[in-house]
């Protein structure tokens, strides 16, 4: 499949505004990037257009790796397919009843509209008990009748979600077989296949959202593959999953729910790789967009994974996802003074349309971007993204004066700086949330901004949180596309055990773990992708008997095709170690329980040498200077050098204050900070000596 010469590996990240493409010529080691406008109606058009920017003959392309937001958008905009659910008698409302929550702690005005309306949720007589006993066998004819009713209603996809199917999948599998006989397409699924884990709402929701996405995602992937083939492509397409690993298109069609956070996950993967190569295995990635600020923790080169995530209120997806914490503080977040006289930033946002006041598109309330413009940190004559020619500084100033300076009795510049400080403090809170609150010391971490705006704030954030430094990648704006090309292939499995460690049959546990490992490795082999190596990870969700929350306990065991040698002693000692890490005091004399087992198989794809991105030698700092601006820091204007970032040679030292510009980002180095270009062209920001 792979060609000997001139073969490209291409990463494509389709965002809301731009489609970013990263090209790696595997023969020459040469890298290039391209950015084209996204085509929201049919993302595959922008996708193809992006590749065409640098490659004319698509048969030169060996692999295309894709971070997609098609699934995410279909969920957020409720644009998936008409879906039916067939469930146990008495339980048709599980999806709509959720876990009996509400959207906000304070205020009782919540609403929730499930993706499958009640008349599309049908019941059949069947019942499995918690211990796996079949109390009532399912009748295939009843399932088929329900399916026919759903077809009449117009359902395009269907799923089966029976109570306690995690403990015994027999009834679900019989029902699935009955469905297959009459359902006109492949958009069918059973909860015991998608997520064989205890908790009916989470399992039903995940299974339902998968079915809901199947026609949309499969349709998109088909279009994409066809378009690529029409241009002569005969390589392989891989899709980034929310867990940061890639999967084949075939798997993505079956499990589209695993793409829920595909795009952002790729960005974190790239950050982790760049950070490790640059010698910073501990970073907190910071992605600042128009309305939100997303942070994610990478410790010892590994991203934290969350077991589940809510895409929206009540829209729960339980599959391992790169843990991304989002707060409502972006460039478009609106600054205001509440009636108690307290300065607030967000959660309301002007987004990108109308956007900040300085865009001149109709918003008159000041945003974080407006404050950055007024302070001189953003170049009003050269806005990022190329959508606008010029930013309106005077209007931004006026808005800050009216809405912040006058109510707080501050000068307008001080008010603008106050907005930035409050915004920084919110972002710092998000960073503390993923670090300090999880027991990680910020002193050992660096901030790694990506996206367009993050690098304006990271300097301040390292001071506010007490981080070691900031690491600004060479191309912050195309981080996700770059991440696509280096992501590993990964398959995660879960199975509920729910037994006491002391009495659990270790032989059966061993074979369960090794069966899943073998199944995962087969998926890797069948994908036809070349890997440098394979990893198999075993993990258990465990707790003391009586606790409802579990801790994830990695098992120090290897898989070589046969038994893996699991024992109660090994498990117990791994549990105690992990429990201490998470909570402090382990408890004596209380039995230990295993709730779920988890197996991950990872195929390591070859990484390209980031050194290929490095800038040329022999260019001095002065060569890159493009001008000087007055920029406001700490209560006063500072004459600040403005530099062109990309040409800066390895080893270049940039003392603050300084503003560094590049087409996809602006970097701000405050007066008490300094920058240094490392051997890959990354910029490392640290405190100046003595400050």
């Amino acid at each position: 499949m792979n060609k000997a010469s001139s073969s490209y590996a291409i990463g494509v990240d389709v965002g809301g505004t731009f489609t970013d493409v990263f090209f790696l010529n595997e023969a020459t080691g040469h890298c290039e990037v391209a950015k084209v406008p996204s085509t929201p109606g049919d993302q595959s058009q922008g996708f193809i257009e992006g590749i065409r920017q640098k490659v004319t003959d698509f048969s030169d392309v060996s692999t295309v790796v894709h971070g997609t937001t098609v699934g995410t958008n279909a969920l957020l905009e409720r644009k998936g397919a008409m879906t039916g659910i067939i469930t146990t008698a008495g339980f048709r409302d599980v999806l709509e009843m959720r876990r009996r929550d509400r959207p906000n702690t304070w205020g009782l005005w919540g609403q929730f509209e499930p993706v499958v309306p009640r008349n599309f949720r049908l019941e059949v007589s069947e019942r499995t008990l918690a211990d796996g006993t079949i109390r009532q066998k399912v009748n295939p004819t009843e399932v088929q009748n329900a399916a026919r009713e759903l077809l009449c209603l117009g359902a395009k996809s269907v799923c089966i979600a029976f109570i306690n199917a995690y403990a015994n999948s027999e009834n679900e599998q019989i029902a699935l077989q009955a469905l297959r006989e009459i359902w006109p397409n492949n958009y069918i699924g059973a909860s015991s296949d998608i997520l064989p884990e205890i908790r009916e709402f989470e399992r039903t929701s995940t299974t339902t959202l998968n079915a809901y996405l199947q026609p949309t995602v499969a349709g998109y992937l088909h279009k994409l593959e066809t378009a690529l083939k029409d241009d002569g492509f005969d390589g392989q397409v891989l899709i980034v999953q929310s867990n940061g690993g890639v999967m084949t298109v075939e798997t993505a069609r079956k499990l589209p729910v695993r793409t829920a956070l595909s795009g952002p996950a790729a960005g974190v993967i790239a950050s982790a790789h760049i950070a490790v190569e640059a010698g910073f295995p501990n970073v907190i990635t910071c992605d600042m967009g128009g309305t939100s600020f997303d942070v994610s923790l990478v410790a010892e080169g590994k991203s934290a994974l969350a077991a589940q995530s809510n895409i929206d209120f009540g829209m729960t997806v339980r599959t391992p996802m790169i843990e991304i914490t989002t707060i409502g503080a972006g460039g478009g977040s609106i600054a205001w003074v509440d009636r108690g006289g307290l300065l607030q930033v967000g959660p309301e946002s002007a987004g990108s349309n109308p956007g900040p006041v300085c865009y001149g598109l109709g918003n008159d309330r000041p945003t974080v971007t407006d404050a950055n413009v007024v302070l001189g940190r953003i170049n009003a004559n050269k806005p990022i993204g190329g959508k606008l020619e010029q930013l309106d500084v005077e209007e931004a100033k006026k808005a800050i004066e009216t809405h912040v300076a006058i109510p707080l009795d501050l000068e307008v510049m001080a008010a603008a700086e106050a907005i930035i400080r409050v915004a920084n403090s919110k972002m710092a809170g998000a960073i503390r949330l993923v670090s300090i609150e999880r027991g990680y010391d910020p002193k050992n971490f660096s901030a790694m901004p990506f996206g367009g705006g993050g690098a304006l704030h990271t300097g301040a954030l390292i001071k506010e949180v007490g981080l070691q430094s900031a690491l600004v990648p060479r191309y912050p704006g195309i981080n996700s596309a770059l991440g696509c090309t280096i992501a590993d292939m990964r398959h995660d499995f879960v199975q509920t055990v729910n037994g006491i460690l002391k009495t659990l049959d270790m032989v059966s546990l061993d074979s369960k773990l090794s069966d899943l490992a073998a199944q995962g490795l087969k998926l890797l082999t069948d994908a036809g992708v070349s890997f440098e190596s394979h990893d198999v990870l075993f993990e258990l969700d465990m707790s003391y008997l009586g606790q409802t929350h579990t801790v994830d306990v990695p098992l120090p065991l290897n898989f070589d095709g046969g038994k893996i040698g699991v024992s109660a002693e090994v498990i117990h000692s791994a549990f105690v170690t992990r429990y201490q890490e998470v909570y402090g005091r382990p408890l004596e004399g209380i039995p230990v329980r295993i709730l779920n087992l988890r197996v991950s198989t990872i195929g390591r794809r070859p990484k390209f040498d980031l050194g290929l991105l490095a800038p040329e030698d022999g260019i001095s700092l002065n060569d890159t200077r493009t001008g000087t601006r007055n920029v406001w820091f700490d209560g006063a204007f500072h004459e600040t050098g403005v530099f062109d970032r990309l040409p800066m040679s390895i080893g270049t030292q940039v003392p603050g204050p300084a503003i560094l510009e590049q087409p996809d980002a602006t970097i701000c180095i405050e007066p008490d900070l300094q920058g240094r270009v490392d051997r890959f062209g990354n910029l490392i920001i640290t405190r100046k000596e003595g400050s």
């Binding site: 008495g90 339980f91 048709r92 409302d93 709509e96 009843m97 959720r98 876990r99 009996r100 929550d101 509400r102 702690t105 304070w106 205020g107 009782l108 005005w109 919540g110 609403q111 929730f112 309306p117 009640r118 008349n119 008990l129 918690a130 109390r135 109570i163 306690n164 995690y166 205890i198 908790r199 009916e200 709402f201 989470e202 509440d338 009636r339 108690g340 006289g341 307290l342 300065l343 501050l410 106050a418 400080r421 409050v422 403090s425 919110k426 809170g429 503390r432 949330l433 609150e437 729910n498 009586g546 606790q547 409802t548 929350h549 998470v582 909570y583 402090g584 005091r585 408890l587 209380i590």
Partner: protein
């Protein structure tokens, strides 16, 4: 004066400390009432007054108002004893001295700085079992607190940093579930340890003076914001009344009456017309009453920060004879039911003058249902859970189906977790049609839960409300359906004599209990509801065709479809 930026920054930092304490306890707690239902709370309190300075955002809303009374109780105790020292931690659950009910155990610790108390940190959590006549402590027939559980006054759990194992031994000896108690207590200690560390770090970073100034300033800001909100309401006195079904002993309704007076930027809540203290456990202490007022206020004015300042412009009048202001040993175990009613009357009283702020009343009962017995191997099991219902219709739309109670943010354990842990099988876990109060914006639906016993025998206890007085609608909206509980015996299904409260129901293998919870009250007149929305409700089975015709004045054609023309005519005719 402190600069506005430092104030905003430190507000966030302080809240984060309390949030982090919440998270530590939720994750490490043993009993699902804390771990899943988040029936716990943490915060920082004033060094001399005990007033709430900062409270976590994720803890149980009702505790937010109650905790300052707990800290005051400790301050009083320490002053009387004169032996407060660094490293001391007090523990207690006395509901009449800063508590709520006996299940809620409080840990209060002084935070010292340069030899002086800078502030207090406190942790509260609902323990699984604290003795008494009924497993889980919701004893609907208690007439004295001694039948509800052990009562511990403020005593030192730690003395100068040293743990007193004696205290733990006494606590454990008085619980049916000593292991769970030990685990939860440890989680609370861990949360306090963490809070102390974080507080010290923050003071080192910003300096004691600055942080102290912020702690003075924050309640001032909240008070100002609250006063600004009140002054927007027209002056006058507004009244509302509602009833509790009974006290679990005698089948007489109990009145909760409110006369709410707005005078400029001050608000007076007078509960004097409410019933006197009753024999059964639906009494509450004054601190609990004030805490529930705080919760209602925060639901109405969501942007006001959570600290003592919120209550400053609010005067509360409750006579000492009232069921809302009792002392030991009057039973208070069912305090959740009474405070839900307080919240309901506050919403109803304000409905006419602030229709844009309020919503129809939520389902209004916690429905504490417990099934307990012994397994074949002799081990004891206690399944204890609270059940959900509908939220009220509101200015922006229909009420939420199957939500949690306004006093909590609790989630319900999944049926599969309950079935895996206890010998029960749910035969129904569904939305309850026709339970939402009719209105322009319909109340959300309550739920139907039906449970079959899989072991030979079990005892069932229920502590609920709203069996006789339905959750009201507002602004012309109609009430929701009543709470309904039945239990199966050899001779068929039975309704408890006191409707929603009963102890000692004996259930045999294969028999069921059946609970139908209320929905939420409606918002606005039902005849103003878009007929298309009514049609959709019928199609989804949320509203039956019969009720649609009766409540919403819609006309259906022969096939059950909506006849829009005739509906418009009918509604017009009814109006004139």
């Amino acid at each position: 004066m402190i600069d506005p930026v430092t104030l905003a920054v430190l507000k966030g930092r302080l809240e984060q400390i309390a949030d982090e304490m919440d998270a530590t306890l939720f994750r490490s707690a043993f009993n699902p009432i804390i771990a899943e239902a988040h029936d716990a709370s943490h915060g920082l309190y004033h060094a001399t007054t005990g007033a709430t300075l900062v409270q976590g955002k994720s803890g149980l809303p009702i505790f937010v108002g109650a905790m300052s009374f707990a800290v005051k109780a400790v301050i009083g105790k320490a002053a009387r004893d004169g032996d407060l020292a660094k490293g001391d931690v007090y523990i207690f659950n006395d509901p009449y001295d800063g508590g709520t009910h006996l299940s809620d155990f409080r840990l209060v610790q002084p935070f010292y700085r340069d030899g002086k108390v800078f502030c207090y940190l406190a942790s509260v959590g609902h323990w699984h079992d604290v003795g008494g006549n009924v497993p889980g402590n919701y004893n609907p027939v208690a007439t004295e607190c001694f039948q509800e559980g052990m009562l511990i006054p403020p005593v030192k759990l730690f003395r100068k940093g040293e743990l007193r194992q004696d205290i733990i031994d006494i606590l454990q000896a008085n619980s049916r579930l000593p292991g769970s108690l030990y685990g939860d207590l440890n989680g609370q200690i861990n949360a306090l340890d963490l809070g102390m560390r974080r507080m010290a770090e923050l003071l080192d970073e910003y300096g004691d003076t600055v942080v102290a100034q912020v702690l003075v300033e924050l309640p001032k800001r909240a008070a100002k914001l609250m006063a600004a909100n009140i002054s927007e309401l027209p002056d006058g006195t507004y009244s509302a009344e509602d009833y509790l079904d009974n006290d679990g002993i005698k089948d007489t309704p109990l009145k909760i009456a409110l006369d709410l007076t707005i005078n400029g930027d001050q608000m007076k809540l007078d509960f004097s017309r409410s019933s006197e203290a009753c024999a059964g456990p639906v009494n509450i202490s004054l601190s609990t009453a004030i805490a529930s007022i705080y919760v209602a206020t925060k639901h109405l004015f969501t942007e006001v920060p959570a600290n003592a300042g919120v209550l400053e412009p609010i005067e509360v009048i409750i006579p000492e004879t009232s069921l809302l202001n009792v002392r030991a040993p009057k039973p208070v175990g069912g305090y959740t039911e009474t405070i839900l009613r307080i919240i309901d009357v506050i919403f109803c009283a304000l409905a006419d003058v602030a229709p844009e702020r309020v919503n129809g009343c939520a389902y209004g009962t916690i429905n504490a249902l417990s099934l307990a017995g012994h397994r074949k191997d002799g081990s004891r099991w206690v399944m204890f859970s609270f059940f959900g219902g509908g939220h009220g219709g509101h200015p922006e739309g229909d009420g939420l189906n199957h939500g949690n109670a306004p006093i909590s943010t609790a989630t319900i354990p999944p049926a599969e977790i309950l079935e895996a842990a206890y010998p029960v099988m749910f035969t129904k876990w569904a939305l309850r049609p026709d339970s939402g109060g009719p209105g322009r914006h319909r109340g959300g639906l309550g739920a139907i839960y039906e449970i079959e016993l899989l072991e030979e025998n079990a005892d069932v206890f229920l502590f609920g409300e709203r069996g006789k007085f339905a959750p009201p609608g507002v602004v012309g909206g109609q009430p929701a359906a009543l709470n309904k509980f039945t239990y199966q015996q050899d001779d068929g299904d039975h309704i408890p004599p006191l409707v929603s409260k009963m102890v000692g129901i004996k259930l045999k293998k294969g028999q069921h209990v059946h609970l139908e919870t209320p929905g939420g009250g409606g918002y606005g007149h039902p005849h103003e509801r878009d007929p298309k929305s009514v049609e959709r409700d019928i199609a989804l089975g949320f509203v039956s065709p019969e009720k649609a015709i009766d409540d919403y004045a819609v006309v259906l054609d022969a096939n059950g479809g909506l006849d829009l023309g005739k509906t418009t005519e009918l509604r017009k005719a009814m109006q004139s």
